[in-house]
């Protein structure tokens, strides 16, 4: 009788162990499914973080920065340089790995005009690539400077602008 009770106990424990293992396996599978479904979202978040990092550095890159011509300014974008870069942009295909770069003057506020060589500098939006902005974007404040002449002296004319970088969403 005692032996039989012991057998029942062992059987009970075996069932219990199986049930607990099955329970954890099911929960693990459930978590894995959730994790994998969130992978796409994680990839998009990473792209977004990259865009943010890039936008903070882009203004200081040689293709954009004012350099010493404007007296060692930080967060300063040379407007004349950017307009020339726009003409040469085919040589920069996939250079930054982004969809589009746009510089938008926010102050002083004037009617929206996309910059080209025909209307420069009487415009306020410089689109480096002629693509539609899709996906998400990251932006940062910069001062957009160019040289202007007043009577006999040349001075720096700087406007407040936003440098915007757009990324494609991960499919």
């Amino acid at each position: 009788m005692k032996n039989k009770y012991g057998q029942i106990k062992i059987q009970q424990m075996a069932f219990m162990l199986m049930a607990v293992t099955l329970f954890f396996v099911l929960v693990g599978m459930f978590l894995l499914v959730i994790r994998f479904s969130a992978l796409k979202e994680t990839a998009s978040t990473l792209e977004e973080k990259n865009a943010m990092l890039l936008v903070t550095r882009l203004a200081e890159s040689p293709e954009f920065s004012c350099g010493k011509a404007f007296g060692a300014k930080i967060s300063c974008v040379d407007e004349d340089k950017v307009m020339n870069l726009k003409e040469q942009i085919n040589n920069y295909e996939n250079f930054w790995g982004i969809e589009n770069i746009e510089i938008r003057v926010i102050y002083p506020k004037i009617e929206e005009k996309i910059c080209g060589f025909d209307n420069y500098p009487n415009c306020n939006i410089i689109k480096l690539y002629d693509k539609e902005i899709k996906g998400f974007d990251a932006s940062n404040f910069v001062s957009l400077c160019r040289k202007e002449k007043s009577d006999s002296e040349v001075y720096d004319k700087c406007e407040l602008a936003k440098l915007m970088v757009s990324y494609k969403k991960v499919k």
């Binding site: 607990v20 329970f23 404040f141 004319k157 407040l160």
Partner: protein
């Protein structure tokens, strides 16, 4: 009867274990599914904002007919000097106030920011602008401008 009671006790024990494990898993799931809240305004953005607006060129000119930047206007305001706009003499502090109100109004339109505060001061207050709600979540940055042995401090705080 005794065996029946023992089985009941074990069933209750099993149920308890399942409940405890389920609660732990729910807590874990809650943490893992909770998305990290995206910071509404990154401090680098405010830092760049201060850098950028200090370089902005105003329409007010000095006596050499060269337009003053905001940084120069702040220094001029600290010295209680005047500048010239369309040949009209204007107080530097007045022009500074006008431009900064416009700049902040255009730059921080977004719904992400609930309020802002801009303070420019040396040993005296030069400009103080604030608007919106002052919440407990804020980010800010400051910059010093040296002027005749003194430091002028520019502080901008965004509340979100």
């Amino acid at each position: 009867m005794k065996i029946g009671k023992k089985a009941q006790e074990e069933m209750v024990g099993f149920a308890l274990i399942i409940i405890i494990v389920a609660v732990i898993l729910l807590i874990f799931l809650g943490f893992s599914l909770k998305k990290p809240q995206k910071e509404a305004v990154e401090s680098y953005e405010i830092e760049s904002f201060i850098e950028a607006f200090l370089q902005y060129t105003s329409d007010c000119k000095n006596d050499r007919n060269i337009p003053l930047s905001i940084k120069e206007l702040i220094i001029s305001c600290n010295k209680n000097e005047k500048c010239y706009e369309n040949s009209n003499e204007k107080e530097s502090c007045e022009v500074l106030n006008e431009i900064m109100t416009g700049i902040i109004g255009e730059s921080w339109k977004t719904d992400l920011i609930k309020g802002y505060e801009l303070n420019i001061f040396s040993d005296k207050e030069l400009l103080s602008l604030e608007s919106g709600e002052k919440t407990k979540n804020y980010r800010g940055s400051s910059q010093d401008i040296p002027s005749e042995g003194n430091l002028i401090e520019v502080v901008f705080v965004g509340y979100y």
